[in-house]
Protein backbone atom coordinates (compact mmCIF):
# COMPACT_ATOMS: atom_id res chain seq x y z
CA UNK A 1 0.00 0.00 0.00
CA UNK A 2 1.83 3.03 -1.27
CA UNK A 3 -0.56 5.65 -0.03
CA UNK A 4 -0.35 7.00 3.51
CA UNK A 5 -3.36 7.39 5.76
CA UNK A 6 -3.41 11.15 5.20
CA UNK A 7 -3.47 10.71 1.43
CA UNK A 8 -6.42 8.32 1.69
CA UNK A 9 -8.24 10.86 3.83
CA UNK A 10 -7.49 13.91 1.70
CA UNK A 11 -8.42 12.35 -1.64
CA UNK A 12 -12.07 12.29 -0.57
CA UNK A 13 -12.07 16.05 -0.12
CA UNK A 14 -11.10 17.05 -3.65
CA UNK A 15 -9.63 14.38 -5.91
CA UNK A 16 -12.56 11.97 -5.57
CA UNK A 17 -15.13 14.22 -3.91
CA UNK A 18 -18.63 12.75 -4.20
CA UNK A 19 -20.95 13.48 -5.92
CA UNK A 20 -18.93 15.72 -8.24
CA UNK A 21 -15.99 13.52 -9.14
CA UNK A 22 -17.65 10.23 -8.32
CA UNK A 23 -21.13 10.70 -9.76
CA UNK A 24 -22.76 8.41 -7.22
CA UNK A 25 -25.41 8.80 -4.57
CA UNK A 26 -27.31 11.57 -6.32
CA UNK A 27 -30.75 11.00 -4.82
CA UNK A 28 -30.05 12.29 -1.29
CA UNK A 29 -27.95 15.09 -2.78
CA UNK A 30 -30.86 16.31 -4.84
CA UNK A 31 -33.60 15.69 -2.35
CA UNK A 32 -32.36 16.88 1.04
CA UNK A 33 -30.43 20.03 0.11
CA UNK A 34 -33.44 22.30 0.50
CA UNK A 35 -31.54 23.94 3.36
CA UNK A 36 -28.00 23.95 4.74
CA UNK A 37 -29.10 22.32 7.99
CA UNK A 38 -30.71 19.32 6.24
CA UNK A 39 -27.68 18.92 4.00
CA UNK A 40 -25.20 18.82 6.88
CA UNK A 41 -27.42 16.48 8.94
CA UNK A 42 -27.71 14.06 6.02
CA UNK A 43 -23.96 14.31 5.39
CA UNK A 44 -23.09 13.43 8.98
CA UNK A 45 -25.51 10.50 9.04
CA UNK A 46 -24.02 9.14 5.81
CA UNK A 47 -20.46 9.65 7.12
CA UNK A 48 -21.28 7.66 10.25
CA UNK A 49 -22.68 4.76 8.20
CA UNK A 50 -19.77 4.91 5.76
CA UNK A 51 -17.07 4.87 8.46
CA UNK A 52 -18.68 2.07 10.49
CA UNK A 53 -19.48 -0.14 7.50
CA UNK A 54 -16.04 0.42 5.96
CA UNK A 55 -14.34 -0.60 9.21
CA UNK A 56 -16.49 -3.67 9.82
CA UNK A 57 -16.25 -4.87 6.23
CA UNK A 58 -12.50 -4.37 6.30
CA UNK A 59 -12.22 -6.42 9.52
CA UNK A 60 -14.32 -9.21 8.01
CA UNK A 61 -12.80 -9.06 4.53
CA UNK A 62 -11.04 -12.43 4.88
CA UNK A 63 -14.11 -14.19 6.30
CA UNK A 64 -16.82 -13.03 3.87
CA UNK A 65 -17.09 -15.53 0.98
CA UNK A 66 -16.44 -13.93 -2.39
CA UNK A 67 -19.68 -15.11 -4.00
CA UNK A 68 -22.15 -13.65 -1.54
CA UNK A 69 -20.14 -10.56 -0.61
CA UNK A 70 -22.68 -8.03 -1.92
CA UNK A 71 -25.46 -9.51 0.20
CA UNK A 72 -23.16 -9.44 3.26
CA UNK A 73 -22.19 -5.82 2.60
CA UNK A 74 -25.82 -4.77 2.24
CA UNK A 75 -26.78 -6.47 5.51
CA UNK A 76 -23.94 -4.75 7.37
CA UNK A 77 -24.82 -1.37 5.87
CA UNK A 78 -28.53 -1.81 6.62
CA UNK A 79 -27.70 -2.58 10.26
CA UNK A 80 -25.74 0.65 10.68
CA UNK A 81 -28.49 2.61 8.91
CA UNK A 82 -30.96 1.28 11.46
CA UNK A 83 -28.60 2.38 14.25
CA UNK A 84 -28.41 5.90 12.78
CA UNK A 85 -32.17 6.01 12.41
CA UNK A 86 -32.66 5.27 16.10
CA UNK A 87 -29.90 7.65 17.23
CA UNK A 88 -31.47 10.48 15.23
CA UNK A 89 -34.93 9.66 16.50
CA UNK A 90 -33.62 9.90 20.06
CA UNK A 91 -31.36 12.95 19.89
CA UNK A 92 -32.27 15.09 16.87
CA UNK A 93 -35.99 14.47 16.46
CA UNK A 94 -36.87 17.63 14.39
CA UNK A 95 -34.12 16.79 11.88
CA UNK A 96 -35.31 13.17 11.82
CA UNK A 97 -38.79 14.37 10.82
CA UNK A 98 -37.41 16.66 8.10
CA UNK A 99 -35.18 14.02 6.50
CA UNK A 100 -37.92 11.40 6.91
CA UNK A 101 -37.75 8.65 4.31
CA UNK A 102 -34.21 9.59 3.26
CA UNK A 103 -32.61 8.16 6.40
CA UNK A 104 -33.59 4.54 5.65
CA UNK A 105 -32.65 5.26 2.04
CA UNK A 106 -28.97 5.71 3.00
CA UNK A 107 -28.92 1.94 2.58
CA UNK A 108 -29.30 2.26 -1.20
CA UNK A 109 -26.85 5.16 -1.46
CA UNK A 110 -24.39 3.90 -4.06
CA UNK A 111 -21.47 5.68 -2.38
CA UNK A 112 -21.60 3.45 0.70
CA UNK A 113 -21.80 0.20 -1.26
CA UNK A 114 -19.34 1.57 -3.79
CA UNK A 115 -16.66 2.21 -1.15
CA UNK A 116 -17.26 -1.20 0.42
CA UNK A 117 -16.79 -2.95 -2.90
CA UNK A 118 -14.01 -0.77 -4.30
CA UNK A 119 -11.98 -0.09 -1.17
CA UNK A 120 -12.87 -1.67 2.17
CA UNK A 121 -12.82 -5.29 1.02
CA UNK A 122 -9.25 -4.91 -0.24
CA UNK A 123 -7.56 -2.74 2.40
CA UNK A 124 -6.78 -2.90 6.13
CA UNK A 125 -8.87 -1.32 8.86
CA UNK A 126 -6.88 1.91 9.33
CA UNK A 127 -6.88 2.75 5.61
CA UNK A 128 -10.57 1.92 5.32
CA UNK A 129 -11.32 4.21 8.25
CA UNK A 130 -9.38 7.06 6.62
CA UNK A 131 -11.10 6.43 3.28
CA UNK A 132 -14.57 6.34 4.84
CA UNK A 133 -13.94 9.51 6.84
CA UNK A 134 -12.52 11.37 3.84
CA UNK A 135 -15.27 10.42 1.40
CA UNK A 136 -17.91 11.02 4.09
CA UNK A 137 -16.62 14.50 4.88
CA UNK A 138 -16.31 15.29 1.17
CA UNK A 139 -19.95 14.27 0.76
CA UNK A 140 -20.99 16.43 3.73
CA UNK A 141 -19.08 19.36 2.25
CA UNK A 142 -20.81 18.96 -1.14
CA UNK A 143 -24.22 18.77 0.51
CA UNK A 144 -23.46 21.88 2.57
CA UNK A 145 -22.30 23.84 -0.50
CA UNK A 146 -25.32 22.84 -2.59
CA UNK A 147 -27.59 23.47 0.42
CA UNK A 148 -26.14 26.97 0.84
CA UNK A 149 -26.53 27.74 -2.87
CA UNK A 150 -30.17 26.68 -2.87
CA UNK A 151 -31.16 28.14 0.49
CA UNK A 152 -29.58 31.55 -0.16
CA UNK A 153 -31.15 31.89 -3.61
CA UNK A 154 -34.42 30.10 -2.94
CA UNK A 155 -35.34 31.41 0.48
CA UNK A 156 -32.90 34.29 1.02
CA UNK A 157 -31.68 32.76 4.26
CA UNK A 158 -28.61 30.94 5.58
CA UNK A 159 -29.22 28.47 8.42
CA UNK A 160 -32.53 30.27 8.95
CA UNK A 161 -31.02 33.79 9.23
CA UNK A 162 -31.97 36.35 6.62
CA UNK A 163 -29.08 37.28 4.33
CA UNK A 164 -30.27 40.08 2.09
CA UNK A 165 -32.95 41.76 4.21
CA UNK A 166 -36.43 42.58 2.91
CA UNK A 167 -35.48 43.88 -0.54
CA UNK A 168 -34.60 40.43 -1.90
CA UNK A 169 -37.30 38.51 -3.71
CA UNK A 170 -36.38 34.79 -3.33
CA UNK A 171 -36.46 32.43 -6.37
CA UNK A 172 -38.81 29.97 -4.73
CA UNK A 173 -38.26 27.26 -7.36
CA UNK A 174 -34.66 26.84 -6.15
CA UNK A 175 -35.82 25.14 -2.95
CA UNK A 176 -38.17 22.87 -4.90
CA UNK A 177 -37.26 19.82 -7.01
CA UNK A 178 -36.34 21.65 -10.28
CA UNK A 179 -33.86 23.85 -8.40
CA UNK A 180 -32.03 20.75 -7.19
CA UNK A 181 -31.19 19.64 -10.73
CA UNK A 182 -30.29 23.11 -11.96
CA UNK A 183 -28.24 23.94 -8.84
CA UNK A 184 -26.24 20.70 -9.04
CA UNK A 185 -25.75 21.14 -12.80
CA UNK A 186 -24.33 24.65 -12.30
CA UNK A 187 -22.04 23.53 -9.45
CA UNK A 188 -20.78 20.63 -11.56
CA UNK A 189 -20.00 23.07 -14.36
CA UNK A 190 -18.06 25.31 -11.95
CA UNK A 191 -16.16 22.26 -10.68
CA UNK A 192 -15.22 21.38 -14.28
CA UNK A 193 -13.93 24.90 -14.90
CA UNK A 194 -11.93 24.90 -11.67
CA UNK A 195 -10.28 21.52 -12.27
CA UNK A 196 -9.51 22.01 -15.96
CA UNK A 197 -7.13 24.91 -15.18
Amino acid sequence: MAKTLTQEFVKGLWEEIPPFKLVLGLCPVLAVTRSVENGIGMGIATTFVLVCSNMLISMLRNIIPQKIRIACFITIIATFVTVVEFLMQAYTYPLYLKLGIFIPLIVVNCIVLGRAEAFACKNDVAHSLADGLGIGLGFTLSLAVLGTFREVLGAGTFLGHSVFGDVFQPFTFMVEAPGAFIGLGILLCLMNIASSK
Partner: protein, 191 residues
Protein backbone atom coordinates in the same frame (compact mmCIF):
# COMPACT_ATOMS: atom_id res chain seq x y z
CA UNK B 1 -63.05 3.73 -8.07
CA UNK B 2 -62.56 7.52 -8.18
CA UNK B 3 -60.29 7.15 -5.17
CA UNK B 4 -57.94 4.92 -7.16
CA UNK B 5 -57.99 7.21 -10.19
CA UNK B 6 -57.07 10.16 -7.95
CA UNK B 7 -54.27 8.12 -6.43
CA UNK B 8 -53.02 7.15 -9.88
CA UNK B 9 -52.96 10.75 -11.15
CA UNK B 10 -51.23 11.85 -7.98
CA UNK B 11 -48.54 9.17 -8.26
CA UNK B 12 -47.85 9.58 -11.98
CA UNK B 13 -47.94 13.36 -12.33
CA UNK B 14 -48.34 15.40 -9.16
CA UNK B 15 -45.88 13.51 -6.96
CA UNK B 16 -43.76 12.06 -9.77
CA UNK B 17 -41.18 9.92 -8.04
CA UNK B 18 -38.24 11.27 -10.02
CA UNK B 19 -39.11 14.82 -10.93
CA UNK B 20 -40.76 16.05 -7.75
CA UNK B 21 -39.45 13.67 -5.09
CA UNK B 22 -35.92 13.22 -6.49
CA UNK B 23 -35.83 9.46 -5.96
CA UNK B 24 -33.97 7.26 -8.43
CA UNK B 25 -31.59 9.87 -9.82
CA UNK B 26 -28.68 7.51 -10.57
CA UNK B 27 -30.43 5.27 -13.13
CA UNK B 28 -32.29 8.34 -14.38
CA UNK B 29 -29.03 9.96 -15.46
CA UNK B 30 -27.22 6.71 -16.22
CA UNK B 31 -29.67 5.05 -18.60
CA UNK B 32 -31.15 8.05 -20.39
CA UNK B 33 -28.51 8.49 -23.06
CA UNK B 34 -30.50 6.60 -25.67
CA UNK B 35 -34.17 5.83 -26.10
CA UNK B 36 -33.65 2.03 -26.15
CA UNK B 37 -31.97 1.84 -22.77
CA UNK B 38 -34.50 4.29 -21.32
CA UNK B 39 -37.44 2.12 -22.42
CA UNK B 40 -35.69 -1.04 -21.15
CA UNK B 41 -34.99 0.48 -17.76
CA UNK B 42 -38.52 1.88 -17.51
CA UNK B 43 -40.08 -1.54 -18.16
CA UNK B 44 -37.74 -3.25 -15.72
CA UNK B 45 -38.61 -0.74 -12.99
CA UNK B 46 -42.36 -1.18 -13.53
CA UNK B 47 -41.98 -4.95 -13.35
CA UNK B 48 -39.82 -5.07 -10.23
CA UNK B 49 -41.49 -2.22 -8.37
CA UNK B 50 -44.96 -3.79 -8.58
CA UNK B 51 -43.62 -7.09 -7.24
CA UNK B 52 -41.52 -5.41 -4.55
CA UNK B 53 -44.41 -3.17 -3.50
CA UNK B 54 -46.73 -6.16 -3.00
CA UNK B 55 -44.12 -8.33 -1.28
CA UNK B 56 -42.94 -5.70 1.19
CA UNK B 57 -46.53 -4.73 2.01
CA UNK B 58 -47.39 -8.36 2.77
CA UNK B 59 -44.23 -8.84 4.85
CA UNK B 60 -44.93 -5.68 6.82
CA UNK B 61 -48.57 -6.63 7.48
CA UNK B 62 -48.06 -10.34 8.08
CA UNK B 63 -44.67 -10.56 9.79
CA UNK B 64 -43.16 -7.31 11.04
CA UNK B 65 -46.28 -5.69 12.50
CA UNK B 66 -47.81 -8.64 14.40
CA UNK B 67 -44.41 -9.58 15.86
CA UNK B 68 -43.57 -5.96 16.69
CA UNK B 69 -40.35 -6.11 14.69
CA UNK B 70 -40.67 -2.81 12.81
CA UNK B 71 -37.10 -1.85 13.66
CA UNK B 72 -36.01 -4.55 11.21
CA UNK B 73 -37.87 -2.83 8.36
CA UNK B 74 -34.82 -1.35 6.62
CA UNK B 75 -32.81 -4.57 6.80
CA UNK B 76 -35.65 -6.83 5.71
CA UNK B 77 -36.88 -4.60 2.86
CA UNK B 78 -33.48 -4.29 1.24
CA UNK B 79 -32.93 -8.04 1.48
CA UNK B 80 -36.38 -8.70 0.01
CA UNK B 81 -35.71 -6.34 -2.89
CA UNK B 82 -32.25 -7.77 -3.55
CA UNK B 83 -33.42 -11.38 -3.53
CA UNK B 84 -36.54 -10.54 -5.54
CA UNK B 85 -34.41 -8.97 -8.26
CA UNK B 86 -32.19 -12.04 -8.32
CA UNK B 87 -35.21 -14.33 -8.47
CA UNK B 88 -36.90 -12.35 -11.24
CA UNK B 89 -33.67 -12.47 -13.21
CA UNK B 90 -33.41 -16.26 -12.93
CA UNK B 91 -37.09 -16.75 -13.69
CA UNK B 92 -37.01 -14.57 -16.80
CA UNK B 93 -33.84 -16.22 -18.05
CA UNK B 94 -35.50 -19.63 -17.88
CA UNK B 95 -39.03 -18.93 -19.03
CA UNK B 96 -39.02 -15.73 -21.07
CA UNK B 97 -35.62 -15.44 -22.76
CA UNK B 98 -36.76 -12.68 -25.13
CA UNK B 99 -37.92 -10.43 -22.29
CA UNK B 100 -34.73 -11.28 -20.40
CA UNK B 101 -32.62 -10.22 -23.35
CA UNK B 102 -34.48 -6.92 -23.38
CA UNK B 103 -34.30 -6.14 -19.67
CA UNK B 104 -31.03 -8.01 -19.12
CA UNK B 105 -28.43 -5.68 -17.73
CA UNK B 106 -30.93 -3.33 -16.11
CA UNK B 107 -32.25 -5.86 -13.63
CA UNK B 108 -29.26 -6.03 -11.27
CA UNK B 109 -29.05 -2.23 -11.30
CA UNK B 110 -32.53 -1.97 -9.82
CA UNK B 111 -31.41 -3.24 -6.41
CA UNK B 112 -29.72 0.08 -5.74
CA UNK B 113 -32.44 2.19 -7.32
CA UNK B 114 -33.77 4.18 -4.43
CA UNK B 115 -37.11 4.64 -6.17
CA UNK B 116 -37.94 0.98 -5.47
CA UNK B 117 -37.05 1.09 -1.78
CA UNK B 118 -38.55 4.57 -1.52
CA UNK B 119 -41.97 3.56 -2.86
CA UNK B 120 -42.06 0.51 -0.56
CA UNK B 121 -41.43 2.80 2.41
CA UNK B 122 -43.97 5.38 1.20
CA UNK B 123 -46.61 2.62 0.97
CA UNK B 124 -45.99 1.73 4.61
CA UNK B 125 -45.70 5.32 5.90
CA UNK B 126 -48.94 6.39 4.21
CA UNK B 127 -50.69 3.33 5.69
CA UNK B 128 -52.11 2.26 2.33
CA UNK B 129 -54.40 -0.74 2.03
CA UNK B 130 -53.28 -3.64 -0.16
CA UNK B 131 -55.12 -2.34 -3.26
CA UNK B 132 -53.85 1.19 -2.73
CA UNK B 133 -50.30 -0.09 -2.34
CA UNK B 134 -50.66 -2.04 -5.59
CA UNK B 135 -52.00 0.99 -7.48
CA UNK B 136 -49.41 3.33 -6.03
CA UNK B 137 -46.49 0.98 -6.81
CA UNK B 138 -47.64 0.58 -10.41
CA UNK B 139 -48.31 4.28 -10.92
CA UNK B 140 -45.10 5.52 -9.29
CA UNK B 141 -43.19 3.13 -11.54
CA UNK B 142 -45.13 4.35 -14.59
CA UNK B 143 -44.34 7.92 -13.61
CA UNK B 144 -40.65 7.01 -13.39
CA UNK B 145 -40.73 5.35 -16.81
CA UNK B 146 -42.56 8.34 -18.29
CA UNK B 147 -40.00 10.79 -16.88
CA UNK B 148 -37.15 8.60 -18.12
CA UNK B 149 -38.50 8.32 -21.66
CA UNK B 150 -39.26 12.07 -21.87
CA UNK B 151 -35.78 12.87 -20.61
CA UNK B 152 -34.12 10.45 -23.04
CA UNK B 153 -35.99 12.10 -25.90
CA UNK B 154 -34.75 15.54 -24.91
CA UNK B 155 -31.23 14.27 -24.31
CA UNK B 156 -30.98 12.76 -27.80
CA UNK B 157 -31.61 16.27 -29.12
CA UNK B 158 -29.12 17.89 -26.73
CA UNK B 159 -26.33 15.68 -28.11
CA UNK B 160 -26.75 17.40 -31.47
CA UNK B 161 -26.44 20.87 -29.95
CA UNK B 162 -23.16 22.63 -29.30
CA UNK B 163 -22.68 22.69 -25.55
CA UNK B 164 -19.91 24.72 -23.86
CA UNK B 165 -17.06 22.49 -22.69
CA UNK B 166 -17.46 22.69 -18.90
CA UNK B 167 -21.20 22.03 -19.18
CA UNK B 168 -20.87 18.84 -21.20
CA UNK B 169 -22.34 15.45 -20.27
CA UNK B 170 -23.72 15.19 -16.74
CA UNK B 171 -23.85 18.91 -16.13
CA UNK B 172 -26.09 19.75 -19.08
CA UNK B 173 -28.05 16.58 -18.34
CA UNK B 174 -28.89 17.83 -14.87
CA UNK B 175 -29.91 21.26 -16.12
CA UNK B 176 -32.13 19.66 -18.80
CA UNK B 177 -33.72 17.48 -16.12
CA UNK B 178 -34.30 20.64 -14.12
CA UNK B 179 -36.36 22.14 -16.94
CA UNK B 180 -38.45 18.97 -17.32
CA UNK B 181 -38.98 19.03 -13.56
CA UNK B 182 -40.09 22.65 -13.88
CA UNK B 183 -42.76 21.52 -16.35
CA UNK B 184 -43.96 18.84 -13.92
CA UNK B 185 -43.91 21.48 -11.18
CA UNK B 186 -46.99 22.89 -12.89
CA UNK B 187 -49.03 19.90 -11.68
CA UNK B 188 -48.45 20.94 -8.08
CA UNK B 189 -51.63 21.80 -6.26
CA UNK B 190 -53.73 19.37 -8.33
CA UNK B 191 -55.36 16.30 -6.79
Amino acid sequence: MTEYIMLAVSCIFVNNIMLTQNLGACPFLGTSKSMDTAVGMGMAVIFVLVMAGITTWVVEAAVLKPLDLQFLRTVSFILIIASLVQFVEMFLKKSMPSLYAGLGIFLPLITTNCAVMGVCLININEEYTFMQALVSSFCYATGFALALVLFAGVRERVILARVPRPLQDTSIGLITAGFIALAFFGFKGMG
